[in-house]
Symmetry: C2
Subunit: 582 residues, 2 copies
């Protein structure tokens, strides 16, 4: 029963659902629906899909998230970066506009849904950690730049194509002479208006006396005005006959339940892109969910979120939609408008369904240029070039990973850029942990403490090499210690004892154990004894399961003072009795 | 000048070279030459190459290692596992027996040499760490099993082929009816004799009054007796006319200087195999070198070893050889025989050259079955199934990585097995570090110390959540803390302060910094203050380069006691004055 509540959060909040909450959620749903209709159409176009696919992706996913999701305010649906990634992946297996292309997008949602579900059920959410912050941040900045530049083509009424920023720019430049003046007029005006809505509308509304929250929401749904005015203009002046591309016929009616293609060859080709879409989507979604939940001290279960996003994508696929995830701006609107339960999302789905049933004829004359303008304004807020400087200043390695991800994404496209970024950050991580901090230590006069000889005035003995290891020992750094000990002992023929002080060693894996055994045997061959000191309890428990402690030529001592005293009792006693260094 | 000595170790030991050392090294060279001739032929056959290629690979590489190597006793040349990997890689681009196949093997040595050189010059030796001990150990066990089983085909005089253990067994079984009785007689007798040499010869020689060292060396070169007797038998009884396969004509004369094919397509296909051969070879070689160096407290420079192995492989390639590395058994013989400088290796190269010039006619009737038997006996000592049990008992994750590597290598072949093993161990490593140990801590009465509430009788306050983080914070575990804090704070509405105690945090990377910023902002939104305590100096220095400390809602305290006292001075004072718990 508890497990049923865990997997179906709707049972928990549904039980407490009241009439007041219902009214609240219905109001929220109206606002979000108005915002979501143009977004759904725009992201479908960005993904290279017919407009109704965007609407389909905004129904079933919202209903399923309401059943399985643990965030009270997250709004799922098509988002910019996932739409771009869908276009890149589907474009590799089919040509835009063909049924195969649509089939690939639907299959991506299906595979993505199954992967997310599996990750949730198998508790593999940590996979998202493979995307380090510099990589995801660089990737989103580069994707947003690519989207924004690409959408200037429909804004200007010219042709462009390509799978990377560089390819898109190359394909656009020769067409710049063929700008359609009507389209460009609509597109650039919409763009200017939308920028003003984003920057200037809220202050204006506040000045007019509206409340902070209502002003915020109006500013967010403001783009609808651009949609309405430009649609009316195209209709009124017959601009579609002058080359202004319009949305055209959007099939009326709800999506039919269908199954995507299960062809193995197609799935094999889409597996990696689907995994990347899933993880990028999950990382953004969980971050939004945690941020909004914290404001009301609500709980978000990361594993259950994977299941909920998995079900949402599954729902999108079987209703003819494409990959979805929790979107930042729509979730914030949802939250600010006062969404109290995921039911608000379910009502939004109903709102979109009603729109699909009755309002699509109104969208016939909606110019693509306006939709493209809404995309440009939305994605430019994702570009964060300042993060490069901050990250570089904080960590060269992280800064390098971020810059490499941005450059590779712009040159080689989203998949190559993201995979290279992930590989690079894992590589840099292993590189950095491959050289742990190890200090030679000596006794501080007047105390039983041992400190770094390089930083403190300490007493050492030429026959004893005391090394403090400041890191867990595992395969990325296992050989480092072997080489360090070989080097140190070969350099000082007087050494008869090596003591490893291990207070910061949280783990010793099999590779490090093998290295310790090799160090012990080699030292023994060279007439040197190996000792350990201050080994943590769990590490000691594990060492007892190996043969190492039997083979160890020296002993394991509780404290480093004990270890040195067991070899040179006079020295440590004299040092302890010496006046303490200032 | 110092740098010249670093890159050319021969300048250091060469300057001290004496007549006594010369005599010593010459004796060693004779012993190793006798041992190396059959090994070179055998490993060439294992790699699917003409026998003389094995001899070529045992000349130039030894000369170059003598110039560039830092180990006094390492003996380079063809080895079993690298030969198997060469056969697997060359077999993917050409058919055995063709000039293209030989060309691929030579190109592998060239690419491998350049990669090792680059790794040495760019100090990328840590790349070898990517091969965790369980993976390399499992890989070598599986390779040795595959080699041993594969070599039963020439021992029995039947046909077999395949790139994995499973494929080889499948191809052998139908041919078991076609065993050649003469070949099998020679092969199985050699095998029995060689096993006896390994087990029984040394005790016998000791019983006969020989010294320990000389008995050891005779036991190691004993296989030469099998070569001599079986060659004589084939010649005397004309067995080659009864289907016993023989080495046949080995071209007399030294190899000519040649350059391998530089065709880009070929290099692209061989790049990954060459990288794997290089790293596996380096890991084995450096381990042997360190072990032997330790016995005489000599220094081995890992980066220079990469350069020396790189030059050796380069030398092998330009003299028509295949990939080489430092071999375990020949290095031990070299060491036990008393090699004092790498000059012993150079003299061995001259010995092999003399043999190639004058002795090859004697090898005409040498049966392949005998060579295969020497390979079987040599590689069976590499099989270490006991390591599976030990590793599993020590660490489930490492044991799983080892078993997976063995199974995948046996089923899918050496490359797939090794790559999967490396991927798996990196994955398991990141998985394990993704869930760091974090303890809720409270004050021990009568002290200023804070300990885990689960293990000690401590005083806590419902308004304060004290978490001690026992691990560095970086991208594999960054989100863990976000989720843990969200969970804890949502579960206890009384909490007004969260204090992270960071004595074991050695690093905070950009991803973790982003998580801390998110935690800080989210807690602030929920009316909770975030504090840090016991932040290490280097970590603090780096945090000062970010905006985090300005944004932090609470403070950074020197000790955890200070942190709690700043919020609840009465509580900590009262607890400090309380009687200390027993």
């Amino acid at each position: 029963m508890k497990s049923l509540h865990k997997y179906l959060p709707i049972l928990t909040w549904g039980a407490e659902y009241s009439r007041q909450t219902l009214v609240n959620d219905l109001v929220v749903a109206c606002i979000v629906t108005v915002m979501l209709i143009p977004q759904s159409l725009a992201y479908a176009l960005l993904a290279g899909l017919p407009p109704q696919v965007g609407l389909y992706a905004s129904m079933a996913p919202l209903l399923l998230y309401a059943v399985f999701g643990t965030s009270r305010a997250l709004a799922v649906g098509p988002v910019a970066v996932a739409s771009l990634m869908t276009a890149a992946a589907a474009g590799q297996v089919a040509t835009q506009g063909t049924p195969e292309y649509l089939g690939a997008a639907v299959a991506l949602a299906m595979i993505s849904g199954l992967l997310l579900l599996a990750m949730g059920l198998l508790r593999l959410g940590f996979l998202a950690n493979f995307l380090s912050h510099p990589v995801i941040s660089g990737f989103i900045t580069a994707s947003a730049i690519q989207i924004a530049v690409g959408q200037f083509a429909p804004v200007l009424g010219i042709h462009a194509h390509g799978e990377s920023f560089v390819a898109i720019v190359q394909s656009m430049v020769p067409n710049l002479g063929a700008i359609n003046p009507y389209t460009a007029g609509i597109g650039l005006t919409s763009l200017a208006f939308l920028f003003w809505v984003r920057r200037g509308l809220k202050p204006l509304l506040l000045k007019l006396g509206l409340g902070e929250r209502i002003a915020d929401i109006l500013a967010k749904v403001g783009p609808v005005a651009a949609i309405a005015v430009t649609t009316a203009a195209v209709w009124g002046f017959g601009l579609s006959e002058h080359g202004v591309k319009i949305v055209g016929t959007v099939p009326q009616g709800l999506p039919e339940l269908t199954l995507p293609s299960f062809e193995m060859g197609l799935w094999a080709k889409l597996l990696v892109p689907a995994l990347l879409i899933s993880i990028v989507g999950y990382v953004e979604s969980i971050s939004v969910a945690l941020t909004l939940a914290a404001k009301r001290r609500q709980r978000v279960d990361p594993d259950q979120e994977l299941i909920a996003l998995g079900m949402s994508n599954f729902g999108s696929a079987v209703s003819g939609g494409f990959p979805v995830t929790g979107g930042f701006s729509r979730s914030v609107v949802n939250f600010d408008a006062g969404a109290e339960t995921p039911a608000a999302g379910a009502f939004t789905a109903i709102g979109i369904a009603l729109a699909t049933l009755f309002l699509t004829p109104l969208l016939y004359f909606l110019p693509n240029a306006t939709l493209a303008a809404t995309i440009i304004v939305a994605v430019l807020s994702l570009v964060n070039l300042g993060a490069i400087k901050d990250t570089w200043r904080y960590s060269r390695a992280d800064g390098a990973a971020m810059v490499a991800t941005i450059i590779l994404t712009l040159i080689a496209g989203v998949e190559a850029g993201l995979i290279a970024g992930v590989g690079l950050s894992i590589f840099l991580h292993l590189y950095q942990t491959s050289k742990p901090h190890v200090a030679v230590v000596g006794q501080i006069p007047g105390t039983m403490s041992f400190r770094n000889v390089a930083r403190h005035d300490v007493v050492t003995d030429p026959e004893i090499l005391s090394l403090r290891v400041d890191e867990s020992l595992y395969f990325p750094n296992a050989r480092f210690l072997e080489e360090l000990v070989n080097e140190s002992v070969a350099a000082s023929p007087a050494i008869l004892h090596v003591i490893l002080e291990c207070p910061a060693v949280n783990t010793i894996d099999s590779s490090a154990l093998e290295s310790l055994e090799a160090i012990n045997n080699r030292l023994w061959d060279g007439g040197v004894t190996l000792h350990l000191s201050e080994v943590k309890g769990p590490v000691m428990d594990r060492l007892k399961r190996s043969h190492f402690l039997e083979q160890l030529s020296g002993k394991v001592h509780l404290s480093h003072f004990d270890a040195v005293s067991s070899i040179k009792p006079d020295l440590t006693r004299r040092t302890l009795e010496a006046p303490r260094a200032s």
